[in-house]
């Protein structure tokens, strides 16, 4: 199949066209791919792990994997799905490795004493707060960020991809390697949990 002509400006080219250029060794194309996805990928990972430094590392690891494996990318799949899949897997793997300690607002599930629970709990609104925590301190946006943080990682991935990134159910199923029905269930449950958590905001 003939390749579509490349627009003179790489910014208006499709992902597939940019990938083709990157495979040919164009550093500009590599940079363009990072420019397109650094914010959504970083935002997703940041909201998953809730730590800026760690999110930067995981997002960087994601892009390194993606760009080093461009030759194995198959153009019949959406490039964005591929990137989000790798980013989400990096975040989930990290959370599993850390056994959810990083994420638990209430403290580690393995903490046995009140001191250990306090030591492992995520302190929201503490001094030296991150950008995420600063947003959390603003009314509804902040309440929602906090409510999202309380969701199970699987629910969190689904709700973020659906309602923050605006991805279709089928794409989320591809990204998370889950059946479509499971994705719909997770999103439904996540919305229910968010509604319950945010019920006190009801006018």
């Amino acid at each position: 199949m003939a390749e579509a002509p490349l627009p003179p400006d790489l910014k208006s080219a499709t992902d597939q066209q940019v990938v083709t250029q990157a495979r040919k060794g164009s550093e500009t194309a590599y940079r363009e791919l990072v420019r397109r996805y650094e914010r959504p990928v970083f935002s997703l990972v940041f909201r998953m792990v809730r730590n800026r430094e760690l999110a930067e590392d995981l997002a960087q690891e994601t892009f390194i994997k993606v760009l080093n494996a461009l030759d194995s990318y198959r153009p019949e799949f959406k490039f964005s799905s591929w990137v989000f899949k790798i980013a989400n897997n990096a975040a989930i793997d990290h959370l599993r490795r850390r056994e959810l300690d990083t994420l638990s607002i209430e403290g580690s599930p393995h903490a046995e004493t009140p001191q250990m629970i306090e030591a492992t709990a995520l302190q929201l609104g503490e001094r030296g707060e991150t950008a995420l925590e600063a947003v959390e301190n603003k009314e509804l946006g902040g309440e929602i960020e906090r409510a999202i943080a309380k969701l199970r990682p699987e629910y969190r991935s689904c709700i973020l991809l659906r309602h923050v990134e605006g991805r279709a159910y089928e794409e989320i199923a591809d990204i998370l390697n889950l059946p479509l029905g499971t994705v719909k269930t997770y999103i439904h449950r996540a919305r229910n949990e968010l509604r319950i958590t945010l019920a006190h905001l009801k006018p």
Partner: protein, 150 residues
């Protein structure tokens, strides 16, 4: 959908995106193995291939001119041997075919033009159906299969 549901969905959709450090892209690219540009990557193998083709063709033409009689002898001997082998193969196939038990009834059936047309038409339909079936068997599933097992 309740007012709270709507408010939650609206707020989710309007959550800000966060940007990594400004040096993020440089940090990524410093650790990526960027392939050599295509032109530089392919110039040497292409040149080498072109040179070897030219040298081979030249050597072959020179040898042919210097050894014309020997070459003609080889060609004649080869073509005669090939012709004999092909003819023998055709005869073997024809003999085997006519020795089959279904050959005589088939020839009798196809002895009238009408029945011959019927036979050819039936064979064509069967062939087309087999092609369609084979194509269906070989077509990959339409639903994309996730492939990045990171």
């Amino acid at each position: 959908m309740t007012q709270l549901d709507r408010a939650v969905l609206t707020a989710l959709a309007s959550l800000p995106t966060y940007a990594p450090k400004p040096t993020f892209a440089d940090g990524v690219l410093a650790q990526v193995r960027t392939p050599e540009p295509m032109a530089a990557r392919t110039a040497w193998p292409r040149l080498a291939l072109a040179a070897s083709v030219v040298v081979s063709l030249g050597a072959s033409a020179a040898w042919s001119l210097l050894n014309r009689d020997q070459l003609l002898g080889w060609i004649q001997s080869f073509s005669a041997e090939t012709g004999r082998t092909v003819w023998l193969g055709v005869r073997v196939v024809a003999t085997n075919l006519t020795a089959q038990p279904w050959y005589t009834p088939l020839r009798e059936f196809a002895s009238s033009p009408g029945r011959l047309v019927l036979l050819l038409g039936g064979s064509l339909i069967l062939y087309a159906a087999a092609l369609v079936a084979l194509r269906r068997l070989l077509t990959p599933p339409s639903r994309p299969v996730p492939h990045a097992n990171w």
